[in-house]
Symmetry: C2
Subunit: 336 residues, 2 copies
């Protein structure tokens, strides 16, 4: 076992200046306690939620200063104090942005049967992104054939999968993304019916043209002013699935006008996958089947090298950045 390096949170970030807040340091090799395992990181999943964790307590406590930054990690077990996990197992879970990290039993999952897909599919297709898309579309939104399904953050890790799953259910799918290139990709590669570039187009006006009878389901990955623009276009008894709020990082404060929710008798549900881990096996099985049938595509943007983590992370919050699908950092060049 070699030395360890990790991104240490030395100050809380101001705006999106993560370079000032996070520093790559040589760090001690962690010692697994009871119900923990030491994991060699193979891939880091970079997610908008990571930014929220630095800003405030969320569904987990705020990341403390001095900690190696927390994140979802895909890796190989080096040493295990967790029943059911042994040295050499591939695992995904709540770890840290480091060569080696600890993963606790609570949020650890063995990498599922990959059905011949590359290892990174454990993060770009299965696990949290695919689980969130699957549960959000089927269990929370209850998407049905013939409904109009609008999704923001459509080119992101959850958005690409959720939009395609809604399409598989028979919905008319409209993606909202931040560049012409992403919009083209959503329609031409992923089979979305329409895509709207929120940076260039008036989203409300475009929806009025594309779905004059209103939006049945809005799968909201971003929050912020866009939520209100789309809420104003909901159909009677429409549903909004609140799944992410990354636009809030730069637009704090109240954003939703309740008038449209009341008048159209809309139901809005806040949704985080941690309440639905019992659905992960079903999600993984369905996702694998859809990929095998050629009905679902997954895509990862893979950045090589732990040292590029923070630069890559920042692109999640750069409107129009070219990143599409799941953003991963490959730590171990041997990982496939």
């Amino acid at each position: 076992m070699s030395e360890n390096h990790g991104w240490v949170l030395e100050s809380y970030p101001v705006g999106d200046d993560f370079d000032a807040a996070l520093k790559l340091r040589e760090t001690p090799m962690p010692e697994p306690g009871p119900n923990q395992m030491l994991v060699r990181s193979l891939y880091l999943s970079l997610d908008p939620a990571n930014r929220g964790w630095m800003m405030m307590p969320t569904y987990i406590p705020q990341v403390p200063l001095g900690a190696t930054m927390w994140g979802f990690v895909l890796g190989r077990v080096e040493q295990s104090n967790v029943a059911g996990f042994a040295r050499g197992d591939l695992v995904s879970g709540f770890g840290a942005w480091a060569d080696y990290c600890l993963i606790g039993a609570e949020m650890a999952n063995k990498v599922p049967n990959l059905h011949g897909l590359p290892l990174y599919a454990a993060q770009s297709l299965f696990g949290l992104s695919g689980g969130t898309a699957y549960v959000g579309v089927l269990d929370i939104a209850k998407a049905k054939a013939g409904e109009v399904f609008v999704i923001s953050g459509a080119a992101g890790s959850v958005g690409t999968l959720a939009g395609q799953i809604a399409k598989i259910q028979g919905c008319t799918v409209i993606g909202i993304a931040g560049s012409a290139e992403k919009c083209r990709w959503l329609v031409e590669e992923l089979g979305f019916d329409h895509a709207v570039d929120y940076r260039k187009e008036d989203v409300g006006a475009r929806l009025a043209e594309l779905c004059p009878k209103g939006v049945d389901i809005y799968f909201d990955n971003v929050g912020g002013p866009l939520t209100n623009a789309i809420a104003m276009r909901m159909a009677l008894h429409g549903r909004i699935v609140l799944c992410g709020s990354m636009a809030k990082f730069d637009n704090p404060g109240p954003e939703l006008d309740l008038g449209a929710i009341l008048l159209n008798r809309v139901t809005m549900t806040g949704f985080i996958l941690i309440d639905h881990f019992d659905r992960l096996d079903a999600a993984n099985a369905a996702l694998a089947a859809w990929v095998a049938e050629g009905r679902l595509k997954h895509h990862a943007d893979i950045v090589d090298g732990l040292e590029h983590t923070v630069t890559a992370f920042r692109t999640l919050f750069t409107p129009g950045a070219p990143h599409m699908g799941k953003l991963l950092v490959r730590i171990d060049p041997e990982a496939n």
Copy 2:
């Protein structure tokens, strides 16, 4: 049949200056068309929704200038072109602020068995107010014993009934109202567990004291900034029933921060009784039984004389006005 008078909408109100907008005029006796009936008004129900109808299209079109102001009326049929309704029947429905008005078949209901209660109970207990309270608490909020139930507009027509119904279900009930007198009345007369005066107290801080584990159900009759203050105090998987938005009349614009909805995985549902008229018979039966058992009180503030309608209406929007329960105008002094 005598002459007719009604409140004509001659201009759209600016703020709450209804005196400038609505004028009491001698108006023609209306002629019922197909599926309409001519009704002698006995009581007018004054509701915050009436103000919204003047401001914009809602679930009904905006009231046109020159129309006699629309409102919910309890009256006696003079002449009927509606199957099942005959001269002399007592009816409640969508009519106008006038001595005589037309009520169409769609939103007309025969006055239910009053179980010996005075006629005005058809509006203060049964019908729209009681139906909204019953469906909102039981079907939408699904209130259960042991839950913390917070309600705004608590001293109003829906609020008084909904709070008591939640109490009957076994909830801890906290009412939000706009004067010390109303708060005292809610606790001492209606049996609410607590009441908070939103004009004098910091509602968020008081809720932190009264229910440190959070709010399971918020029954929102007002919208506006109060909604956000209470949304921040929701318990995990809490529910918000959006039933009214009168505070928006003076506070337009976005009011809700979606962060709290997402983090606590809250479900918010916009609710208007017009989708649930099939539940009115069940509601009326339950309300009558609870009154007979001494478990539910209803209260009407009754103003005599059509000419006082607009002055009374304005008190709905005057914070701290003494009005409590249902606000009615008695048009016919013979009505009991």
